[in-house]
Amino acid sequence: MKLLRISVAALFAALLAVPALAGAPKPVIKIESPGQCIAPAEEMRRNHMEMLKHQRDRTMRHGIRGEKASLNECINCHASKATGSVLGKDGFCQECHSYAAVKLDCWDCHQPKAGFKATGAKP
């Protein structure tokens, strides 16, 4: 058993040591408004979903407004200047999520376009 564990560990070490991924394609991340995000880029990449998840519950269920993390602020800063959206080709959200094959559920309900003005219609 111990031997098996050691061999598995050795296999992982060997995989990590191989620089096979160096040439793999990377997502194109286009920063439309360069400047300071609410946290360093590394932290945002790892934890943006956690930040938004906790914020959404505080805002939705307790009515707390003006939180540091806000989906609307993400859009206002990161929406493409060409399409006005964080989705579509080169869309800030979609580019990475397509690369990582992580489904984006936010935009089923939230408006992905910055500064979108809603209109009504006769029922």
């Binding site: 939705m60 009515g63 309900c109 939230h110 219609a121």
Partner: protein, 256 residues
């Protein structure tokens, strides 16, 4: 000899008291002693936006009073304002499946021919049946009495639509792309009137109240005895629709 020095000390003391009073006035609070306040305004009226980071206060209960004597048959300004504010655009073939947060109802008493017209929407019950039946906890009542659907955990079972005695909730059948950025809504979720929670949190009135050309709708804090709505309810006869269900609704009607 000591006079100039005294003056300096005095002005310093006055300056301090003045600054403290100004700080108190800025907060809308006149402090009599630590923890004891003469006037406390923050969060009590709809004219005040809640400070960032503050949760909805449980001391407030938002409500609405609708005077049906002023509500004109054929006028749907409230419905239009609601649709514009909340980004509701009809995209379904079957109109019965369209979202309807507020609707106009014309009633006629067949015995004497008397007619009423009134807007009907989520009544924001104190004991909401939709919250009772929700299997996931998505249907919820906020601390200030506003009944909402947390779409993050709504599974679209529509049990709340069955439970609601006011037929106030709608289900979104189709993908949407015309939402107001401040009012997320989407496919597979149940939705209903939110009292324009995004406006109320900013100290504004709901869109329908602001749009009513007759001023038939009054919005305010039912718990605050000084608010316009509480004073009118204390003074005049008002009705809760289906009061027999003992839901203690937040929307009251006059003249029905």
């Amino acid at each position: 000899m000591n006079e100039p020095q005294d003056k300096v000390q005095d002005s310093g003391r006055r300056g301090f008291i003045g600054a403290a009073a100004a700080a108190g006035a800025g907060l809308g609070v006149a402090a009599l002693a630590p923890g004891l306040h003469l006037i406390e305004v923050a969060g009590a009226t709809s004219a005040t936006a809640r400070a960032a980071g503050e949760p909805a206060p449980s001391t407030v209960r938002w409500g609405m009073l609708i005077d049906t004597a002023k509500c004109a048959s054929g006028c749907d300004a409230c419905v239009q304002a609601c649709n514009t504010e909340n980004g509701i655009v009809e995209t379904v073939k079957d109109a019965r499946q369209g979202s309807q947060w507020i609707r106009k109802i014309d009633l006629k008493d067949p015995k004497n021919g008397r007619t009423h017209s009134l807007p009907m929407m989520c009544q924001h019950c104190e004991n909401p049946p939709c919250v009772d039946v929700c299997p996931t906890g998505a249907s919820m009542k906020r601390a200030d009495g506003i009944v909402l659907v947390d779409r993050h955990i709504c599974i679209g079972c529509r049990y709340c639509m069955m439970a609601c005695p006011y037929k106030a909730r709608s289900f979104v059948h189709q993908p949407l792309d015309t939402q107001n950025p401040e009012v997320p809504r989407g496919i597979g979720c149940v939705e209903s009137c939110t009292f324009c929670v995004q406006r109320v949190d900013k100290g504004m009135q709901p869109a329908c109240v602001e749009a009513c050309p007759e001023g038939a709708m009054l919005f305010g804090d039912l718990n605050d005895p000084n608010s316009g709505i509480a004073q009118r309810i204390a003074r005049e006869a008002t009705t809760q629709v289906r009061a027999d269900l003992k839901l203690n609704v937040g929307v009251r009607y006059q003249g029905i």
